[in-house]
Symmetry: C3
Subunit: 407 residues, 3 copies
Amino acid sequence: MENSLFTANNIWMMICTGLVFIMHLGFSFLEIGLTRQKNTINILFKNMFIICAGLVLYALIGFGLMYPGEFNGVLGFGGLGLRLPENGLTAEYASGGYTYWTDFLFQGMFAATAATIVSGAVAERVKLESFILFTIIYVGLIYPIAGSWQWGGGFLSEMGFYDFAGSTLVHSVGGWAALIAVYLLGPRIGKFSESGKVGAIPGHNLPLATAGVLILWLGWFGFNGGSVLSADPAATSLVLVTTSLAAAAGGISGFLFAYIRYKKYDLTMFLNGILGGLVGITAGADQMGITDSLVIGLLAGVIVVLGVALIDKLKLDDPVGAIAVHLICGIFGTLAVGIFGAKAGWEQFVHQLVGVGLIGLFCCISAFIILFALKKTLGLRVSKEEEVEGLDLHEHGMTAYPDFRLD
Amino acid sequence: MENSLFTANNIWMMICTGLVFIMHLGFSFLEIGLTRQKNTINILFKNMFIICAGLVLYALIGFGLMYPGEFNGVLGFGGLGLRLPENGLTAEYASGGYTYWTDFLFQGMFAATAATIVSGAVAERVKLESFILFTIIYVGLIYPIAGSWQWGGGFLSEMGFYDFAGSTLVHSVGGWAALIAVYLLGPRIGKFSESGKVGAIPGHNLPLATAGVLILWLGWFGFNGGSVLSADPAATSLVLVTTSLAAAAGGISGFLFAYIRYKKYDLTMFLNGILGGLVGITAGADQMGITDSLVIGLLAGVIVVLGVALIDKLKLDDPVGAIAVHLICGIFGTLAVGIFGAKAGWEQFVHQLVGVGLIGLFCCISAFIILFALKKTLGLRVSKEEEVEGLDLHEHGMTAYPDFRLD
Amino acid sequence: MENSLFTANNIWMMICTGLVFIMHLGFSFLEIGLTRQKNTINILFKNMFIICAGLVLYALIGFGLMYPGEFNGVLGFGGLGLRLPENGLTAEYASGGYTYWTDFLFQGMFAATAATIVSGAVAERVKLESFILFTIIYVGLIYPIAGSWQWGGGFLSEMGFYDFAGSTLVHSVGGWAALIAVYLLGPRIGKFSESGKVGAIPGHNLPLATAGVLILWLGWFGFNGGSVLSADPAATSLVLVTTSLAAAAGGISGFLFAYIRYKKYDLTMFLNGILGGLVGITAGADQMGITDSLVIGLLAGVIVVLGVALIDKLKLDDPVGAIAVHLICGIFGTLAVGIFGAKAGWEQFVHQLVGVGLIGLFCCISAFIILFALKKTLGLRVSKEEEVEGLDLHEHGMTAYPDFRLD
């Protein structure tokens, strides 16, 4: 391959890496915006930990585990960490798509995402140290092992499972753990009354939550656009279009469906609809046509509204709607590859179903073991007093807006 | 053309698309920052609607309308929506500048901008449903028809009108509608006292407004830089320089001129000066030299300060200064192409004047018809009670910072 | 060189320019987040002034001064401002890395950074007009002269000093001036009690401060990635990896070391650790391996925590920790080039030490002369009354959140 094309491809992949990185700002804004002020520092601390620890762990363990290279050990274990291969900086490394360093950094940014999804669901009551330990194991081991089954050339990819940019491998991997964690943690004080009524616990900063969604949408240009693994003009530009149209359609159907159900123009359902559309298109963003993308988005917007209601009904407390967005729309998006677009067909649908099931089983079992062990040792949840007074003061000795005043 | 150059060009255009997308975050921050807290959710909702509906409408109608392709029907009507042409993904599509999908998405991001400009001007009193209907018609029909006259290869471009990235075709198209809307809506309660005095209605979050301007400046790298329609090094890099210098000069002259007039260092006039400089350079960002750009910026900074004062004097209530920034500086920037830079000359100036006039006429008439019809049917304005209590509670049943407290 | 490679390189450099630009949003958020609400408008005003004036001054004076071209006058003085050279828009200009316009804009974005560093350190008490004059001289003259000694091909580069992206030439240049300014200004009222105790003066918006750090990290992709001066895949991708790993390691060691010392999970030390890691890797981001980058980050995170304590102990009041982050970690990072990575060695270490010393001497003397002259004429510091009531009301006649209310 000519050097200029290799250079162009690598530029695109580095930009996409930056865009996936800035999704962590989007997630941070979304999570703190939808939760109470007294837990803001705690959420920001968790998010900064996730991105920092995620990158370091992926360098030390995850990358080698997920892409085993020459070695194909048990369960995908093939080696640890970063080891520049002989041709890692040439066009031969990845068909001229990028260098070994770009490969690591792009994949490393993905790895941290799974833990971030959990972070939102367990917000306002999880013990910081337990969450830190969970993150280390889940990002350092579980995510790369699940990833190795498909993107590392493992048995799921050989079977015919398809997950372009990670509706299952990233979003559901995070979503299943979020589900288990929310179940083991129990709801926040005041969320469900004894009579079974759902008490709304409003967040403290909707402008930042909205900004978070716009930043996540932009970040998805890199998340999906970079998953082409080169800058191929036809493929990358199609992916950006399907991604954006699904997001737009998801937002519209989300707010309209919420309006029909609840008779108000609900901004958070608009935002969740956009995110649902984004997660929903991710598994097949390179496979869908324009109409497919719009339909997937429209369905995801409805699914996310129903999903949020379902989680509430199950007495599970997910402060930011992470399970509805990432798990439920992640499953929907993965199955959608067998229903819509170029790969649609009964056989593909079954492959998708098997992939969803196996990854789900692995993640649920792993997350349960880790979190249950933490619950029985360190404890998963802060004290009642700490939860009421806020995690910021107790764990961090500071508040989010200490000098804020009204003029 | 070699594949590597096509790939590089398409990368640039996709990045510029992302940068124009993130301008919607900039506009959102600017608008909520300069308005009152009680209407924040409403403004965010409108902005999310504009970007989502804008993209979907542009896919269904606008793109085909604006770039009629083979068909050249009446008023630019040549076909509806997205239809991948035979060579749409090859270097033959657009002289190797980008693919058909990139073309759609880049132009689609532009389309939504016009409505966003109106959104700021009508903030704090417009009825949500009327604004939604206006947006659908204005973004779906009026913007693409106006665009087709010039960028679609229509009669304005044949006449010799020049508008590089849209001082007129985007900013004035939004600005004229803002002017008509503000006139038909009337001022916010409390803006003008009976004795004729102007009452300042301060915003609620200047840090976000400032962030909005910096994000818009960055977005303009894509807005103007992408309007080169390829990554040609000489042209794109010149455009980024002229754009940035005009913004910088506009900010400086804006704050200095405001200091001379009002004897204080006014941050909002600094911000408006930057935006004025950006809008002012947009029509000729590829035509100007360094001195031209600085002079255009310096003039735009003064014009925007005078423009804000003029709008106030006319008893028009534009909460965010959208008319001064986008309409007045849009006209100035368009005329500047005939005064400064490579195209300067009397004949060009007349072409510019004709273009400004015809687009203005078309936009004013269209906007008036749409908005007047809405006023006589649904009503344009919320009730007095709703305006006083805030649109957030009435239209959305939620507030922007529900859990915010002072520590 | 082929046109496609030139185009790809120039795209990368323009993107990096945009990323360095958006660092000004990062710095703004960080500075206002860590300071009191009553001085927010003032800080934002200063930051907008720095970026606008910085670009204009760099166009008029700085660029010609820093890169003297044909002329090699006294102290690097070789000519003023922007003058497009004959081959400035061809691949011959800079070995095909970028055009003359890109060169100017990328370097211009750097120039403004030095003043921004000072802005944070002098916040909440500096007189606006004095700071404006200081900025004009420091960005217009001092920064380009210091830069010309190394990046302009001057005597430091001939000696063998190495500073890849500016640990010394940008961060320490700003940091030394911050040190002198903080010394001449004196601490904020209430920072040090008469008994010598350090009184914490908490900021008003930690979410924005955290967002600022994430934006700065992203910006560093351009700051360091662009300093490769082409899009060479091997070099740019390595630089992004070393930069990100140092940031991640710095954050982790910063928060852990602060936890050991202060027994709390301190978010601001986490943030400072990340910034310390970023500044620390900057001088050798292209020279380091994976382990080197992690070690440099880990050390920088500790250094920054100790540095903040040291500055406090010296009774210097630096509200945002700019001296610890930019000066101390800047020195550390520059020396690290002689200790770690490809250039490690005693001779290189001495070169680094000499470079740090000479630049430090020049900056301290220059900053002292400018600031001392301002102190004796205009005055450096606002009145006691103004400091207590806030600079926003006194200098700008407005507050940051005028309409903010509690629901």
